[in-house]
Amino acid sequence: MLNNITMGQYYPVDSPVHRLDPRVKLILTIAFIVAVFLVHTIWGYLLIAGFVYAVSRLARLPLKMLIRGLRPLRMILLLTFLLNLFFTAGDTVLLSFWVIRITREALRQAVFYSLRLVFLVLGTSILTLTTSPVALSDALEILLSPLKKIHFPAHELAMMMTIALRFIPTLLDETDKIMKAQMARGADFESGNLISRAKSMIPLLVPLFVSAFRRAGDLAMAMESRCYHGGEGRTRFRVLKLTRQDALACGCMALLIGLIVLEGILLR
């Protein structure tokens, strides 16, 4: 089964975090990313970790689910860690054998860079887990709409995103089905060298493309018959209204950034 992707998958429960205005969440996520980049001490990371933990509790997200979102990144994480560990210059040697020399600075950088990556993913995962993709694209559309004046297709972009998200599970199921069907005809997707493996994907990719085009045609017709005619004159089912909670959330984020800056100055 191919449904082990948590990034971009909404986790539908009711929580204060879920109820926040998606525009606010989007901006706060960007602020959070900035905050992560501002951190230079282990205390800062502890602060960030505490924050992520608190938010995920508040959002009623199972920790397991959050951590599972990291799994696709494990190779990149490992690589980041090792590259930084081996190739960062430093003075205090901790370990040295053969050509390998690990310094205190390198270890520190390796840990910090990896943590930064982890928190970036966790932060954005919390956004996508607590915000329905439609709300997210609504938020994007509104935040980007000032750019419409310079003919930036904000509505179209948001609609494309919604549709893409809607069809990801459908196409994943379909991939699984076609793969099995071709395996039943003796196809082999696993062995062979790179070229023969790429070639063996054709029986999977062609039907998948054909089906995606067919679906796109059907969907376009269904949307038209439901009076879709672009963004003009469209109202919204989800109205975005800023509430006290949103202000509170902004306050919390400001506090976090403040604390990080402060400890950066004090403890560095």
């Binding site: 809607r166 969907l219 005619h229 919204r236």
Partner: protein, 284 residues
């Protein structure tokens, strides 16, 4: 066209680009308010073309179609027509736009520019009418085929249409899903007086309609109530269409000389006929 006529097609033909023969030729249909009309035909007979013409997705190459009084050939009427004559399609997966059920139901209303305060109750009552309120916050891909089609019906219903066109809406469903969607639409037809055009190749669905139009090779070849249409068993078979099993059985029995009614549709009716013709001996 009087007040009660919902759809009027007059000598309508449609030819696809680069096609040699028309997909629909000289079809004339009148459908009145509150009717449940089944359009029966095999694949490629032109029945889906008819559906798309009724929704102004296609414009007739010849002839004229009025939907709720609006001419489908006029560009300015397109949205008025689609709002009043909503359409559901065959593939349940390919007509749901949003990632959450209630947001999908609202899609049409958003397009129409309905104010938000008004949208919420309309979405709620549309979902209630198709018995899907429980799934308002679910993701569409977690639903069964029948449930997805009911969500599609709710999406149309929210627009408060007077006509619902179903283009083979049950073709990809299992028997219970088919039942569930047909029952839902049948109830909307009876309770809310929504006119239904039900395009299908399942005779058992057509048997429940008020009126059947049989389409073959782009032409309307037969029209009438199920009781009028189905007894022509041989003719229907020539058109590669099924007839209700009991109607076929009645035809077989008549061929053997049994004077049974030819318009038997259901098991219950067949039982009555058997009781009439072969009464149980009172002694037993």
């Amino acid at each position: 066209m009087d007040q009660q006529t919902r759809i009027q097609a007059d000598q309508v033909s449609y030819t696809y680009e680069e096609a040699a023969a028309p997909a629909l030729s000289k079809a004339s249909v009148t459908i009145r308010e509150g009717e449940f009309v089944a359009v029966l035909g095999h694949n490629g007979s032109g029945k889906s073309t008819l559906a798309k013409l009724l929704n102004a997705l296609y414009v007739p190459t010849e002839g004229k179609i009025l939907v709720c009084g609006f001419d489908t050939a006029q560009d300015s009427h397109v949205w008025e027509i689609r709002r009043r004559a909503g359409m559901i399609f065959q593939n349940p997966d390919n007509q749901i736009v949003a990632t959450i059920v209630k947001e999908d139901v609202a899609f049409g209303l958003e397009n129409l520019g309905v104010p938000t305060e008004e949208m919420i109750p309309r979405v709620e009552s549309a979902l209630a009418a198709v018995h899907m309120s429980r799934f308002a916050d679910s993701a569409p891909h977690m639903l069964s085929g029948g449930q997805k089609q009911r969500v599609a019906v709710a999406g149309i219903l929210a627009m408060e249409p007077s006509v619902l066109i179903a283009d083979e809406a049950t073709a990809m469903l299992d028997p219970s899903g088919r039942r569930e969607v047909l029952d839902t639409v049948r109830a909307l037809n009876r309770q809310k007086g929504i006119t239904v055009v039900w395009i299908t190749h399942f005779m058992e669905e057509a048997a429940e309609a008020d009126r059947i139009l049989v389409i073959s090779d782009g032409q309307i070849v037969s029209e009438g109530t199920p009781r009028e249409v189905f007894p022509h068993v041989d003719r229907m078979r020539e058109l590669h269409l099924d007839v209700p099993r009991m109607t076929a059985l009645a035809a077989d029995l008549r061929r053997e000389g049994m004077p049974i009614r030819e318009d038997v549709l259901t098991v219950e009716e067949m039982v009555k006929e058997v009781e009439r013709l072969c009464p149980l001996k009172s002694a037993t």
